[in-house]
Symmetry: C2
Subunit: 211 residues, 2 copies
């Protein structure tokens, strides 16, 4: 049912789904087999009514007086999130962040297999990270033409990121996971921006004003 | 005035402040010296009335019929965010992510100077990243006792992160920037969590369901 959602789900709901997934996975790991929306609320920091409302978007799953079966709800959310799909990804920018992403097992667990790394630094080109050789950045589009690539992960500096994202979008890539602090208007691709710098500014705010 | 905010500002407002700061910085860089809330709305993706409401929390700044002076508003937001404060930070976990954070100039620009790196891998201890030597993780608390450390940046795996965060909190550290996918109930510290994995799950959702 949730594979073809009839109504568009609002961004804040989608932002909370990974949190539910993470908390429910922890519960399952700890051997906890059921949970009330109130208990889930305490774990997640969203109100119980918010949680019930969110999950109703996707058809409910809870039972009055029982709560939620943690493993079942986790698996349902995993399916809503599409975790069991497999995607091929390339990393553009084989610096420390790019290689950190490359090695991060959470990426693989979430359905993304990184098949290639690109960089424009001649000193890096040809080097291996695990079993993958770093390729020249100017062969990126050629590579995409000849291999299945669903997602590009952008870890190059701000100055280079805009142009690369624009080209990848024009080239028809499905997904772009962007770590550079730029916003690019795309026409085709789905872009997810991770703003590491916004996080540190939030911390800075709270250090000054208190929580 | 905004150094001692009388009313607690809601989390979503604080989450938008870094976005305003980033967009206004881009405007100033591009030589654009004024901007209406409508134009700022198009850049940020929040409604113009949302923006006016947010900025009213901190005293307004806009002028009817003129809009905002970009440099002035950027500087005001910088002060609200506390960017001009300097904090001393340590990185716990000198893997690829930890060293990527260490080298990321955005951190320094946001007011954080990383003064030490810790790891529990004997092969890493004693190695240098730029001018800083990697120290043994079990000397972390001792180090904090003898140096000014405002913030700890946690880039260790999930399994180790919980215990380290608990200890740092008990030890009275002011701020913790946590990259591990754990939530720890702290009593003292201000914790900012950056959830890289939640981002990839959001992307996965949109790849399945469309934007």
């Amino acid at each position: 049912m949730y594979k073809n959602l009839k109504n568009k789900v609002a961004t804040p709901v989608i932002r909370r789904l990974p949190v539910y997934y993470r908390k429910l996975s922890d519960c399952v790991e700890q051997g906890r087999d059921r949970i009330s929306s109130q208990e889930l609320s305490e774990l997640c920091g969203f109100s119980a009514s918010q949680i019930r409302q969110d999950l109703n978007h996707f058809g409910g799953f809870g039972q009055q007086g029982y709560g939620y079966n943690t493993a079942l709800l986790r698996d349902e959310i995993a399916q809503i999130l599409g975790i069991h799909n497999r995607y091929k990804a390339v990393v553009v920018g084989a610096g420390r962040l790019g290689t950190a992403i490359f090695e991060y097992e959470g990426i693989r667990k979430s359905g993304f297999d990184i098949v290639a790394l690109f960089d424009n630094d001649p000193k890096k080109i040809g080097m291996k990270v695990e079993h993958v050789t770093i390729e020249p950045a100017d062969e990126l589009l050629h590579y995409i033409d000849h291999h299945q690539v669903d997602v590009a992960i952008i870890t190059v500096p701000k100055t280079a990121a805009e142009e690369i994202i624009r080209r990848l979008d024009a080239h028809g890539i499905r997904g772009i996971w962007n770590f550079a602090p730029v916003d690019v208007n795309v026409t085709h691709s789905i872009v997810e921006n991770t703003r590491i710098n916004d996080s540190i500014l939030k911390l800075s705010y709270y250090l000054q004003h208190g929580r």
